[in-house]
């Protein structure tokens, strides 16, 4: 168990890298909190995960690599922005399909209305 104080002191990233780490942390779920990202939470686990992200960023990982590192350890659940994958196809395509269906419906309604006129 790492002390939180140490974690705070350990963070010594360049401002640009820190911003990148913070942006990643925004989209990572704090697993022991309810609906908080690790960027927002003061829970011990969130601090550990923030430190992990900072460590990976310092080691030169890309954003995707950091996320993969986290999902390998904590599971897909940590991603507040779910992965764009075959399994999640319906989740990502659903709203677009709904929009198309709505457009078709509106078009048919307007055409029917135009005929009646």
């Amino acid at each position: 168990m790492i002390l939180p104080a140490l974690l705070f002191l350990a963070a010594s990233l360049a401002p640009q890298e820190q911003a990148r780490a913070d942006a990643i942390a925004e989209d990572i779920r704090c697993l022991v909190c309810q609906n908080q990202s690790v960027a927002e939470s003061e829970a011990e686990l969130a601090k550990v995960m923030r430190a992990l992200i900072e460590e990976r960023v310092a080691a030169g990982d890309s954003d995707d690599e950091v996320r993969r590192y986290l999902t390998d350890r904590y599971g897909q659940e940590v991603l507040l922005r779910p992965a764009v994958s075959a399994g999640n196809a319906l989740l990502w395509a659903g709203p677009i399909i709904a929009l198309c269906a709505a457009a078709l419906w509106a078009f048919s309604l307007f055409r029917r209305g135009a005929k009646a006129r």
Binding site: P4, R29, N35, L80, L90, L91, F110, G113, A114
Partner: protein, 659 residues
């Protein structure tokens, strides 16, 4: 007579009354006496439940430990106001509140002015069935009137209450929200009655309008209060988390918003009837789904309570029965409502159809995101999260499209193309909004979200202003004449003006306070300071204090601007011994139209140092003010007199342009 027995007796009486309401309302007999009987039964039902509720509340006030519910959820040391509001801060009590609102709407349906016709009788019957179902659910699975078990040790005091719930925001949040959720039941019941009779038209629209607007305004306020509570109580400065339970309240709101615009189309043009009927069923179905979500334990959420599968199944059954029944009826009767009236796409009704569809797409998106983790876990066993990044990505472009349609709808008259008079102002608004937002975003170095939020707010505001200008006959009229014309605008139209203005402000505030928030986090000891947006915040010292039922550790911070002390802040940590729970109390101070938000925590091994988080949320008061305006507009419109009968109102009136 014991409190437990009296309460149970009153609820049993309410069951009889709601049974009477259902029978009188639904027997196939066209008689005014049956309508009167259903009305009387609805009043009896309301009074019985009101009595039961009053008894439970007085038991809470007196911390009457003979009731198990009071023992489990209250404590004699709580301040009186939180004892009273504690009545609905638990599963059983909140169900009784739900019932109270349901029965109150039943009585309001019976005694609202208007014709006491068949439609009203059948609607009362449906409302009676709903009340009966929830009464049975309460008495069979979740009665607040269960006695403290005789074989348990004599209780010394209650088991307290979650300190997070001892809070003014949360005390009034549930009742407001319930008026919204349950108010939609009246709309549902009238719609079922209209479907049964196969007559869903202008009369129906005029009947449901006040109920719908009132419920919608309450729902808006309830959601706003929830966001406000989360903002200052949960301690990390957010106000909307796309949490499943927040989504559960957003879904009926989206459906109801679409519905109330659709009802206007039916009232004016007698088209879109099947869509309207479907939306009414969806809106109340979403309310029921929300009730189920919160109490079933199917989702993880800060708000979830009573995670009990048995109750969940019962609630799911009620939801399925009424929503499913409504849809079956709709499938059988909805087709008969289709009327191929002349329908001009470039018209106000056309704009309302478009906005309705966008609302439906957003509703579907929220639904998909809320249930997708459950679907994934059941189907493949993987646990995933769908969080704010997903919803923001989907909702922001939709919101922008809605705003563009809203401005269009405000400018264009009903039915006809309006001789193209709308084209120039709309081009100005659209161009000005899209470009203005671009400049604003560029200057403030904002993101794509900032752009979409700003653009949406400007478009809506532009639409409202152009609409008012047209109503006043400006430009062209003398100021006096313009004011006179504005004076003759109907109150219901003012309601729309208020709500739309509120919406623009809400979007502006939400965008500014989230996209442009500043955050500083630091570990500092006494005498050290951190800085945020030109403010210097110095940690001075630690103080101890105690409240009625908690002890607290406060930290004193001095806020300086340009070296001058402008404010002293006291964030604190409270410990509630009765509940053995600790809470963090943030310190918030207004800074212009925004807030400076300060939370401080102590940590292991930190000694007298504090983990301090400071946020600046610009324009957040615009967000709260906007939300209040949206709701206020709804209340104004709900109580505004109805339009005159269409035959006369269709004639060119004094206002010249359609309102």
């Amino acid at each position: 007579m014991s409190v437990s027995l009296l309460g149970t007796l009153l609820l049993s009486l309410a069951i009889l009354a709601s049974l009477g309401m259902s029978v009188a309302g639904l027997v196939p007999a066209r008689s005014p006496r049956m309508t009167a009987l259903a009305g009387t039964a609805s009043m009896a039902c309301f009074l019985a439940i009101l009595g039961a509720f009053g008894i439970l509340m007085s038991a809470y006030a007196a911390t009457d430990l003979s009731l198990l519910n009071v023992y489990l959820n209250s404590h004699s040391l709580k301040p009186l106001v939180y004892k009273l509001t504690g009545t609905w801060a638990n599963h059983e009590g909140s169900l009784l509140l739900w019932l109270l609102v349901l029965a109150a709407f039943g009585a309001a349906m019976a005694f609202a002015p208007g014709k006491k016709d068949e439609e009203r009788r059948i609607a009362l019957g449906v409302q009676g069935l709903l009340t009966l179902s929830f009464l049975l659910f309460t008495l069979l699975t979740s009665s607040p009137f269960v006695s403290y078990p005789a074989n348990w040790p004599t209780p010394i005091d209650g088991q307290g209450l979650n300190p997070l719930l001892q809070d003014p925001g949360l005390a009034i949040h549930p009742p407001t929200l319930y008026v919204g959720y349950v108010g939609l039941s009246a709309v549902f019941s009238f719609t079922i009655a209209a479907l049964v009779r196969g007559e869903l038209g202008r009369a129906w629209a005029r009947t449901v309008r006040p109920f719908l607007l009132f419920a919608w305004a309450a729902l808006t306020l309830g959601i706003g209060l929830g966001a406000w509570w989360a903002y200052y109580e949960l301690g990390w400065g957010g106000f909307w988390f796309w949490d499943p339970v927040e989504n559960a309240s957003l879904m009926p709101w989206l459906a109801a918003t679409a519905l109330l615009h659709c009802v206007m189309v039916v009232e004016r043009r007698e088209v879109l009837k099947p869509w309207c009927a479907a939306l009414a069923i969806i809106a109340f179905g979403a309310s029921l789904l929300g009730a189920f979500l919160v109490r079933s334990g199917i989702v993880t959420s800060v708000h979830a309570f009573a995670n009990d599968p048995e109750r969940g199944v019962f609630l799911l059954l009620i939801s399925a029965l009424f929503t499913g029944g409504g849809f079956i009826l709709f499938a059988m009767r909805g087709g008969a409502l289709v009327k191929d009236a002349a329908f001009e796409p470039v018209s106000r009704e056309g704009a309302l159809v478009l906005n309705n569809l966008l609302f439906a797409v957003l509703l579907f998106t929220v639904f998909l995101g809320t249930f997708w983790p459950t679907v994934m876990e059941v189907s493949s066993g993987t646990r995933i999260s769908v969080g704010p990044p997903y919803y923001n990505l989907m909702a922001a472009p939709l919101a922008l499209a809605m705003a563009a349609t809203l401005a269009f709808g405000l400018l264009i008259p009903w039915k006809k193309r309006g001789r193209g008079a709308w084209k120039k102002p709309y081009a100005i608004i659209l161009g000005g909004g899209l470009l203005g937002a671009l400049v604003l975003t560029f200057v403030l170095k904002g993101s794509a979200y900032a752009y979409m939020g700003f653009a949406a707010a400007i478009l809506i505001l532009g639409g409202v202003i152009a609409d008012l200008a047209r109503k006043a006959g400006l430009p062209g009229n003398a100021p006096g004449a313009a004011l006179q014309r504005l004076g003759s605008v109907r109150p219901a139209s003012w309601g729309a003006v208020l709500s739309h203005t509120g919406l623009a402000l809400l979007l502006l505030g939400a965008t500014a306070s989230s996209v442009f928030q500043a955050e500083t986090r630091a570990v500092i000891g006494p005498g050290e300071s951190l800085s945020i947006r030109g403010l210097t915040i110095e940690y001075e010292t630690r103080l101890a204090t105690r409240g009625r039922n908690y002890i607290a550790e406060m930290d004193r911070f001095k806020v300086r601007k340009d070296g001058r002390a402008i404010e002293t802040l006291y964030p604190s940590r409270r410990y509630y011994p009765a509940a053995d729970q600790a809470t963090t109390e943030v310190a918030i101070v207004r800074h212009g139209l925004g807030n400076l938000y300060l939370a401080s925590a102590n940590g292991q091994g930190l000694g007298d140092k504090r983990i301090v988080r400071a946020y600046v949320h610009p324009l957040i008061h615009v967000l709260w003010g906007g939300t209040i305006l949206v709701a206020l507009g709804g209340f104004v419109a709900a109580f505004a007199p109805l339009r005159r009968e269409p035959s006369r109102a269709q004639a060119p009136g004094a206002q010249g342009a359609p309102a």
